[in-house]
């Protein structure tokens, strides 16, 4: 069980949070203009990385805020935490 540094509350146990899958997948502004394949790409296709992954977490049993986490899926090491709308850190 790892510890997540919530950008609003500080360090808390993982059990207070819920994972929300891959980060930085933007909901298309005009879904009606997309082909089935394009829409399916948005809807279903997710990366499954062994290594550094950008993902969304929500502090369910805390401030209920969503934010982004950069986590190494092979060892759960978290290298960055940043708020929604902020740019992801580069050169990781």
């Amino acid at each position: 069980m790892f510890v997540i540094n919530c950008p609003y509350c500080g360090e808390r146990e993982q059990s207070e949070f819920k994972a929300g899958g891959e980060a930085h997948i933007v909901r298309p502004k005009q879904p009606t203009e997309l082909s089935d394949d394009q829409w399916a790409e948005y809807l279903f296709m997710r990366k499954n990385i062994k290594g550094i992954q950008f993902e969304r977490w929500v502090h369910t049993h805390g401030c209920r805020k969503w934010f982004n986490v950069v986590r190494d899926t092979s060892n759960d090491e978290i290298t960055a935490v940043y708020k929604m709308g902020e740019k992801p850190p580069t050169n990781k």
Partner: protein, 1001 residues
């Protein structure tokens, strides 16, 4: 007998405190400080159990938690009974009762012992191979296999003890209080770190604390005396907490560890009352120091499992710590210097040693010289090839090893003995290190795996790090800790250490024998009866991965998890398969290190606290009126209210009829309620529901359907516009939390520009729903100031009102198809409003109804229940609810998915009504629906989702999903059941009042 085996007094045993206990029904005596194992050995009892598969007699092998054989059942046939307890760990107390396991009728005469003679018929994988055919016989075999499997017996009564969980946060956690752990604790604590030191044993000091030899000195003091002083010193340090009898079970990522603290298991039963038995410590440490020591390896030779064969280090501990001789004719068998330490200890205690057999040919160390000086005969370059003695070892045969160690040469020598101490060197206890994600490396010179790459802020010290000699340990610790804790100096600079231990070792994983391997029983895993022969068989049959060999042979799969023999299994695999040890890797070390009781794992979460439930403010009334309850999400909901011996069917029929004929009342407080406010509230609802919201007038209610982005129905409910920028949304009972979560997700991540605020108010309101043709007459008495005329208060609208001085909201909405009013009031007034309604409804036979009747009533009306009639593969179109999907809205969640190639297929499963040919035949929910029963294979078209007998329509009604069902109206289908076929006709899912006359009446 007892007198002779209890040798010179040990300071760890209080001989003034005699304790009686029972083993297999016979009373024995021991002293305070004894473990069950030491007390039994002092009474010359070696035979304590039978092995798992062959039922071979087995004795005590070790003096610690790694024990594979001496596992016993405590307090048989009582609520406190516990199976598979290691006799080497349990401290004796007055009244202790233990018995042998896996034997019948007794450990001395065990019928299952016949398996030993049948062993050629029981090779590795025996069960897999034998019971595979005929497949239909499995059920018969299984009964006998299950009967003969298993070691102890699990309790059948509830656990009477109390357990709890506790969180601990510390700067430095030290696991293991041997000499390394003690030194580390002193260094860390004295430098200001908030430190916790834990050890599984009842005392501190590990094995050094009973090492009373001139050969091991620190600063010119015997190592145990030096350590004794250190221990009394650390006990005074304020910021150091010490917990004994505390075994770390698991080491997870981010330095999160679970430990079991044992508080009462060493106390007589009557002193345990009202005390917490065990505590699960959840430790989060900034830094972890693992000082878990090492486990002595046995040696693998023919018949190496007889009672009386112990680890050499165990023989030493029983002598030094407990003052017990394990035998009168002791023989030691070794491949390294450790056995000589044992020999010298025994010699000091006046215990007889017949001889030492050493695999090594050329050996020379101070320890060996001293043994020779004491006239102990040493066979150098020899190995044990066989042992005899069924219930206790009485003889060993030894032969000389060839130069390459692959064969034995020369003639056999027989030596009589009643105890054989074996030492195959040491294995670092790296279990916790690897659990934490650490990577090991193999050290070729002494054939051990040691920590290599750490996964968190931790360090391994002492023998669990592969430092086996006292000088290595003491010289490495100060330097390691200075770096780890970032210190300038420690209290342990320039220690003078004398250690006579020589590191030379002749490692032979499987010792050669004069017999073929197939004719021998060299046990690798004692508890599971896996031999070297089995491992070789697995390799011959093509298994290569260590994980596969483990499962096929069951090596390392007992309650001891193969702490003794796993390394030998690896060694034998690598030798046989010709692969390198380091490349072969190890099997995964999994928690817990030693077994945990279920009590400890669940802590206080037992009984009513196991899965806490939510009660509505009206709950007590339901209980008082004998409602049966149903679990919905975390809620307890009234299911139905049986009257005078009614069964569920009768009660539901009565309730359903009353609700349609006159009046029914339902506790709807559990429905999720989300308060939505903000200037973009309407826009927000437009985006999350399929229908349009902008034009909903203030004071009006609307039913909404919420989809997932994939177009599938996710939740539904009625939302009311309370004000220009203020709505209250209701959700399904089970979906409340996830709906709120989903809405928050969209608000925060996709549409942060929207000015909308969400608040869960489910618990704030009680909801009393009164329905039926007389509902208006009843509710108007409760809220007398309100104008209930249809013009003022039509269906799908809401009014602010007052009951007495208390504000409430009344909604005219319906889930039953009847005219119906919902009173929402501050939760603590819920019960009183309910009772007022009951009072006012008396003259109309107002009938409380539960969820079952609610489901029946809505099914008559063809209303869906999300999660019952839908299953995350149903679009609104599939549900024949096209009317609720706005064509005009630019976008809403799931909109684009409604015209994907898959969702527009016309042969999707679609919701239809089903009417049985025989109106009294009620379908089973979940039953399959087919068109042609003769076609092979039968094509499954769908299944029944809801089914009831409707007392109002006087016939059976059902909802189901059927492939292409929309176009099948009037078509006949078949529901094949186990012993009959039921004919049904596809019908309109709305069975009652399609024109909504009742609602608007």
């Amino acid at each position: 007998m007892t007198k002779k085996l209890r040798v010179k007094t040990s300071k760890f045993i209080d001989e003034t405190y005699k304790i009686s206990f029972k083993f297999n029904g016979k009373t024995y005596y021991g002293y305070k400080g004894d473990t069950l194992a030491s007390a039994l050995l002092a009474n010359n009892v070696h035979l304590v159990g039978r092995s798992f598969k062959y039922h071979r007699p087995r004795g005590i092998m070790t003096a610690g938690s790694e024990e594979p054989n001496a596992i016993v059942q405590l307090h048989k046939n009582t609520s406190r009974t516990e199976p598979n307890v290691r006799a080497t760990e349990i401290e004796i107390y007055e009244g202790l009762e233990a018995s042998s396991q896996n034997c019948w009728p007794s450990v001395n005469f065990d019928i299952g012992g016949i398996n030993n003679f049948l062993s050629p018929l029981l090779p590795a994988g025996f069960y897999y191979k034998t019971f595979m055919w005929p497949a239909s016989f499995w059920e018969k075999y299984e009964y006998f296999i299950r009967k003969s499997a298993g070691l102890g017996k699990s309790p059948t009564e509830p656990d009477p003890d109390i357990y709890e969980h506790k969180y601990i946060h510390c700067d430095v956690l030290i696991v293991g209080a041997g000499i390394s752990g003690i030194m580390a604790a002193k260094i860390a604590a004295k430098n200001g770190f908030k430190t916790l030191l834990v050890d599984e044993k009842s005392y501190l000091g590990g094995s050094t604390i009973y090492q009373n030899s001139e050969h091991f000195k620190i600063n010119n003091q015997i190592s145990s005396s030096w350590l004794d002083k250190e221990i009394s010193e650390i006990k005074k340090i304020k910021n150091l907490k010490i917990k004994t009898r505390t075994s770390v079970a698991a080491y997870h990522g981010y330095n999160f560890l679970l430990a079991r603290e044992n508080l009462t298991d060493h106390l007589p039963l009557e002193q345990r009352k009202n005390k917490i038995r065990q505590r699960l410590l959840k430790i989060r440490a900034k830094k972890v120091i693992t000082a878990t020591g090492s486990l002595e390896r046995p040696l693998i030779f023919d018949n190496n499992d007889r009672p009386g064969i112990l680890l050499s280090s165990a023989v030493e501990k029983y002598a030094n710590f407990f003052g017990v001789a394990c035998g009168e004719k002791n023989v030691l068998f070794t491949n390294n210097d450790s056995a000589y330490e044992t020999a010298i200890s025994l010699f000091q205690k006046g215990i007889n040693i017949e001889t030492i057999i050493d695999n090594r040919e050329e050996i020379d160390s101070r320890l060996i010289k001293e043994a020779e000086k004491n006239n102990i005969k040493i066979y150098k370059g020899y190995t044990v090839v066989d042992t005899s003695g069924y219930k206790r070892i009485n003889k060993i045969s030894i032969m000389q090893l060839s130069k390459d160690g692959q064969k034995v040469v020369g003639s056999k020598i027989s030596i009589t003995c009643d105890c054989l101490g074996v030492s195959g060197g040491w294995t670092p206890a790296v279990h916790l290190f690897t659990q934490s994600g650490g990577k090991l490396k193999f050290r070729d010179e002494d054939q051990v795996f040691i920590p290599n790459i750490y996964s968190s802020d931790q360090i391994s010290i002492g023998s669990c790090n592969g430092d086996f000699t006292l000088d290595e340990i003491l010289l490495n610790i100060p330097n390691t800790l200075k770096e780890f804790l970032d210190l300038k100096k420690t209290d342990y600079e320039n220690l003078e250490v004398k250690s006579s231990f020589n590191k030379s070792k002749r490692n032979i994983w499987l010792l050669p024998s004069d017999k073929l391997v197939g004719k021998t029983k060299p046990f690798v895993d004692y508890q599971n009866d896996a031999t070297a022969k089995d491992i070789k068989l697995a390799l011959r049959e093509g298994f290569r991965s260590i994980e596969h060999v483990k499962r096929y042979t069951t090596t390392g799969m007992g309650t001891d998890q193969g702490k003794l023999g796993n390394m030998h299994a690896l060694g034998i695999i690598s030798e046989t398969a010709g692969s390198k040890m380091g490349e072969l890797g190890t099997t995964t070390f999994r928690p817990p290190y030693t077994p945990l009781t279920f009590g400890t794992i669940v802590g206080r979460n037992v009984g009513e606290y196991f899965d806490v439930f939510r009660k509505t403010p009206i709950h007590d009334w339901h209980v008082k009126n004998k409602a049966e309850f149903e679990n919905v999400g975390q809620w307890k909901r009234a299911w139905y209210y049986p009257k005078d011996g009614e069964n569920m069917h009768d009660a539901v029929q009565r309730e359903s009829k009353a609700a349609r004929d006159s009046a029914g009342i339902l506790d709807a407080s559990t429905l999720g309620k989300i308060d939505i406010q903000g200037s973009d509230a309407s826009e927000f609802l437009n985006r999350v529901y399929t229908n349009a919201w902008s034009k909903l007038a203030i004071g009006k209610c609307r039913y909404g359907l919420m989809l997932n982005e994939d177009g599938m129905v996710y939740d539904d409910g009625v939302t009311t516009r309370l004000g220009e920028n203020h709505y209250i949304m209701t959700t399904t009972t089970g979906g409340a939390a996830t709906v709120l979560g989903k809405l928050e997700d969209y608000l925060q991540t996709e549409w942060p520009e929207l000015d909308v605020y969400l608040t869960s108010v489910t618990d704030h309101y009680a909801t009393v729903s009164v329905c039926g043709p007389n509902s208006k007459k009843i509710v108007s008495q409760i809220v007398p100031d309100l104008d209930f005329s249809d013009e003022n208060f039509p269906h799908m609208s809401f009014k602010n009102a007052k009951i007495g001085k208390i504000k409430c909201r009344v909604m005219r909405i319906s889930f039953t198809g009847e005219q119906s009013y919902e009173i929402n009031i501050q939760a603590n007034y819920g019960k009183s409003v309910w009772e007022k309604c009951m009072e006012a409804g008396k003259e109309f036979n107002i009938t409380p109804y539960g969820t079952e009747t609610m489901h029946l009533l809505r099914a008559e009306k063809g209303f869906i229940i999300v999660g019952q009639d839908t299953d995350a593969t149903m679009t609104p179109i599939d549900l024949q609810m096209d009317w609720i999907v706005s064509k005009k809205k630019f976008d809403f969640i799931g909109k684009r998915s409604l015209y994907r190639s898959d969702t527009i297929r016309e042969d999707r499963k679609q919701l239809v009504g089903l009417l049985t040919e025989n109106p009294d035949e009620v379908l089973e929910e979940g039953a399959q629906i087919v068109a042609d029963i003769k076609k092979s294979p039968v094509e499954m078209l769908g299944h029944v989702t809801s089914s009831y007998y409707s007392p109002n329509l006087k016939k059976s009604i059902a909802l189901g999903v059927v492939r292409g069902g929309k176009k099948m109206m009037g078509q006949k289908l078949i529901i094949p059941m186990e012993n009959k076929e039921i004919n049904v006709t596809v019908a309109d899912p709305v069975f009652l009042d399609r024109e909504n006359k009742k609602l608007n009446a």
